[in-house]
Subunit: 263 residues, 2 copies
């Protein structure tokens, strides 16, 4: 079983100026890679705030920590520096990072200023992750068995680095789980009545997670989306979905007005 925690850095999110869609995208990717996402923290661009969470993460020991935001050339881009300081790792100019930044700037006829060099100042031993859609490279760092990936907050840059560098590294990790899920739309039965039936069924499938999400009313009938999912190291367990569906259909027959698998 491999776990991950996300650290989102950015006052603009805390002030409601920016909707964080990065976390949702990353969670989706990680789940499909068989990684369990345990927690998301959104913090201010302040060293002490970042540091407190880094220390909490060191205690909690997820296998993977992915941060987004605060990686640019400006005064308030302090994520790399803050994580490095919190881990007590010295910073140094990384020559590979410099060459990545240089390549990117050359294509755009821009100069390598002091502000831009800042983006190549990485924790000692870190591996820069090439960013081909923006200037700031991502950063990959192993510390106390935790894989830290420090990514930019601009969605296109974050996604580029994730798909091209982070994903291949995670795909090579041992111990990833199998993930499976089904979504079932159930109409005509209120959530609290459905709850009783599900409680009975789910006890037979202890590794599966049953989550009912009320979706309001459709022509006066309550609509519930039931998501059933599992993370498991045993691939055979995925075949139990068929049995769960059978149990559900048998128990809801004549009670729900409609029930169907969606997506």
């Amino acid at each position: 079983m491999l776990t991950a925690e996300l650290l989102v850095v950015g006052r603009e999110i805390l002030y409601g100026r920016t909707l964080d869609t990065n976390s949702n995208w990353i969670c989706n990717e990680l789940v499909r890679l068989g990684i369990r996402v345990r927690r998301i923290y959104v913090v201010d661009d302040i060293y002490e705030e970042i540091s407190e969470i880094v220390h909490l993460i060191l205690q909690r020991k997820p296998n993977i920590c992915i941060s987004t935001g605060g990686l640019g050339p400006t005064f308030d881009d302090i994520t790399v520096e803050s994580i490095s300081k919190a881990l007590n790792i010295e910073l140094e100019e990384n020559s590979i990072a410099i060459s990545y930044i240089h390549d990117f700037l050359k294509r755009r006829n821009l100069e390598l200023t002091k502000e831009r060099r800042k983006m190549a100042i990485l924790p000692k031993g870190a591996i820069p992750l090439k960013n081909e859609v923006g200037t700031a490279p991502g950063v990959y760092l192993k510390y106390n068995l935790i894989h830290f990936f420090i990514l930019p907050g601009i969605p296109s840059e974050m996604k580029f680095i994730f798909l091209n560098h982070v994903k291949p590294i995670i795909e090579n990790m041992q111990g990833r789980d199998y993930f499976g899920e089904i979504n079932i739309e159930i109409k005509g039965i209120p959530e609290s009545d459905l709850s009783k039936i599900i409680n009975k069924i789910k006890d037979n499938y202890p590794d599966f997670y049953f989550k009912s999400n009320p979706r309001g009313l459709d022509e006066g009938k309550s609509v519930i989306l039931l998501n059933i999912s599992i993370f498991t190291s045993d691939k055979n367990k995925l075949s139990l979905f068929e049995k769960i569906k059978e149990d559900l259909w048998n128990n809801l027959k004549g009670i729900a007005s409609s029930i169907k698998v969606i997506e």
Copy 2:
């Protein structure tokens, strides 16, 4: 100065199945009420996970803690119970909450089942917040000078309870700040060059927060959105925005290709 932290409960968010838009909406509301949002935590529907964050919040002592999610009638709706247990407060059936739930169900010809009664089991001393668009009441609880608001995760229900109950309570709190901001769109100057100019200006306005957000290219020219904001107890400081704008215009004249206040 009043601060807030948000606790988002829901595995569906950690699994990337649901995009959390509630936090963004709440942050926007809080900022406009002069409350500084310090942190957002997204945690799994597991008692230990909720409890760890509640204890962290007790240490950090924000004035306000708002949780969303996990308030319904089903087996995995454990937020109220978990927060109560983490604070070591006994649970009891709240008669006002029962009457709210009863009213809501009556209008829909639904029965008050055991599963639905669960939504009225609140920490001793808590105040239920009437939910007119769904069944589960919100919960208001003061503990160690922290105002806890426990809200449902369904956006329409969360917003109803926030606007009708939470907001009026916060509006009555002493010590709220004034919040002001301007957004300026600057074209034709790369972020790292702009950074140098802003660094110079911002030193003269220590209480103001300058945040530049690159917005990509427009006809080959770099577009940057500069957000300048302040939380202050001194209303007069808001008038400094005019002087900041003047400084910016003077320093960017002839360098940026365009600069304008937006929104």
